[in-house]
Symmetry: C2
Subunit: 322 residues, 2 copies
């Protein structure tokens, strides 16, 4: 099968519902944006062996690729509109693999309203490498990392650390957890949930927002750097899933992995104390738990306030590639 046959068979069906994709046969996609909206655009690349395991289920790889990009839109308070895919495939990639990958991408494209509208498919002698560009729309306001103010509360959505623990499970660790707990953690690593509805709800309420991809401490550090402030986080307030709590109960040193590990794709954000009631309503309306975990203050960097109580050593302050 040549490049064009591959696109026609596996990827063009994902574009069928979107006229602007031109059937994936053209040089570019053409999208009409509603008047008054702003374009929000993000690109994330995933490499086999670094961002996912080469033998992960191909549908899960597709969904992770989609979701880490949609999470970037969520962190800005934008709504997905379309995606473009650069698929750099090892020679000999099987049709079965491609079919399962396309199925996963199709499922998520439908779930999140983000049809595939373009891209490129090329061969490589290296590892599977996938770059997705997500295009979203914002109705005026967006969230950025730069708006935090001293005195803001610091919040995080959902639970933190599950993805980092899930990766440990995949690498043979956390043998003491039961099968269900291990499966929950692995699922959080492989198929994160972009907090799109929450992100939209936070526009006009939150002062600064980021998605937790590098690790909670590292990503709060980005808010601090962009806002010219410090953050003080109370480790005991960081929300944990039952599975993560079981793991930490068995090995308290894992709290360091939880606070430093990435890939959760929850939203971390700051908002003034006057917004607490509004945030409670936003959490309820979007079905996402919100935990107040700290406070912004003058200074720089992130400190973890009650780490000593946990015997915590923050060895790993986030993931960086170089």
């Amino acid at each position: 099968m040549d490049e064009f046959g591959l696109i026609a068979r596996f990827f063009a069906p994902l574009a069928a519902a979107e006229p602007g994709a031109l059937g994936l046969t053209d040089d570019a996609a053409v999208l009409d944006l509603p008047p008054g909206t702003r374009l929000v655009a993000a690109t994330d690349a995933l490499v086999a062996g670094i961002h996912f395991l080469a033998d992960d289920p191909p549908g899960d790889i597709a969904r992770k690729l989609m979701r880490v990009n949609l999470s970037d839109l969520a962190a800005m308070g934008a709504t997905p509109r379309a995606v473009l895919l650069a698929a750099v495939l090892p020679r000999g990639t099987s049709e079965a693999w491609l079919a399962a990958f396309a199925d996963g991408l199709s499922d998520d494209a439908q779930e999140f309203g983000a049809p595939l509208v373009g891209g490129d498919t090329v061969a490589t002698d290296g590892p599977l490498t996938l770059a997705l560009t997500a295009l979203g729309l914002a109705d005026g306001g967006v969230l950025t990392r730069a708006g935090a103010r001293a005195g803001d509360d610091v919040y995080v959505s959902g639970t933190i650390g599950d993805a980092a623990l899930g990766l440990r499970v995949l690498r043979g660790g956390l043998a003491g957890l039961d099968e269900d707990q291990r499966a929950v953690l692995v699922s959080r690593y492989r198929v994160p949930i972009p907090r799109l509805a929450l992100g939209r709800a936070l526009v006009g309420i939150a002062h600064a927002c980021i998605d937790v991809s590098d690790g909670l401490i590292a990503d709060l550090g980005h808010i601090c750097a962009c806002s010219g402030l410090a953050a003080q986080v109370m480790a005991a307030e960081v929300p944990l899933s039952p599975a993560a709590r079981s793991a930490i109960t068995a090995d308290r040193n894992l709290l360091s992995a939880v606070l430093g590990g990435g890939d959760d794709y929850e939203l971390a954000f700051t908002a003034p104390p006057s917004a607490r009631a509004a945030l409670q309503r936003a959490g309820q309306a979007t079905g996402v738990a919100l935990a107040r975990i700290g406070v912004m203050m003058p200074g720089e960097g992130v400190t973890v306030g009650d780490a000593a109580a946990f015997g915590l050593v923050l060895e790993k302050r986030g993931f960086s590639h170089f």
Copy 2:
């Protein structure tokens, strides 16, 4: 240097003039599009050893990456607005390489009005892999591959085959050409010229358009397939540079490489005979030579009319990766 330092040092300067890039510190870019315009989006990926040579000058690699994407916008008649870059870098990529790459990207971003507004930088154990997404704007009408009509003239801009011959020079071939001619051909392979002004001028005149990336015959084949027609091309009318003409004079079999080889990034398009005067004006206004090389007719596929006169054997009908 970590990922954030790398971005801040080499890539953030490219974003300085574009407020929507948010200094490359945020999760996504935010762009306001002028009312009444449509978004045109294309993604192309380049892999070392396939789309460029690993020891090509890094600035030229950056410029080729930029230009092959802008060429996709040109083929739709769109104007560049911004780009996002996924840079998948081999571990140990030097700072000197990155600085030269960023310089090339910066030069082209300024020349073409396409600032870097976002992206991702990750490490790989495989070859250098670069995916760029180009975002453009169209004032209403766009060109596609699908609108050709029987009786249309077939045109191509500039000269054809220089890039394919340039690649042969880089691989040690065409030793009979003089140094200047070899340099011209290599330059056409390494740093193509996206025909943006011509593409814009063709909106409302041309019926179908494509950029020549896979090869003239293969790309005209895409217009044929999308338009449900056949194309007849007169080989003797295909415009050749003096260097290509010298090469073919020395070895007539090279005409096959010229018609089948890719990477020229000229525009191939169809238009009705009634548009000939308008096309002459468009070519003059944009400073690009246009050659009428054939005609569209009922049927399918591309035939080369006077190939026999050249002793032509079309061995290679375009580049396909799989």
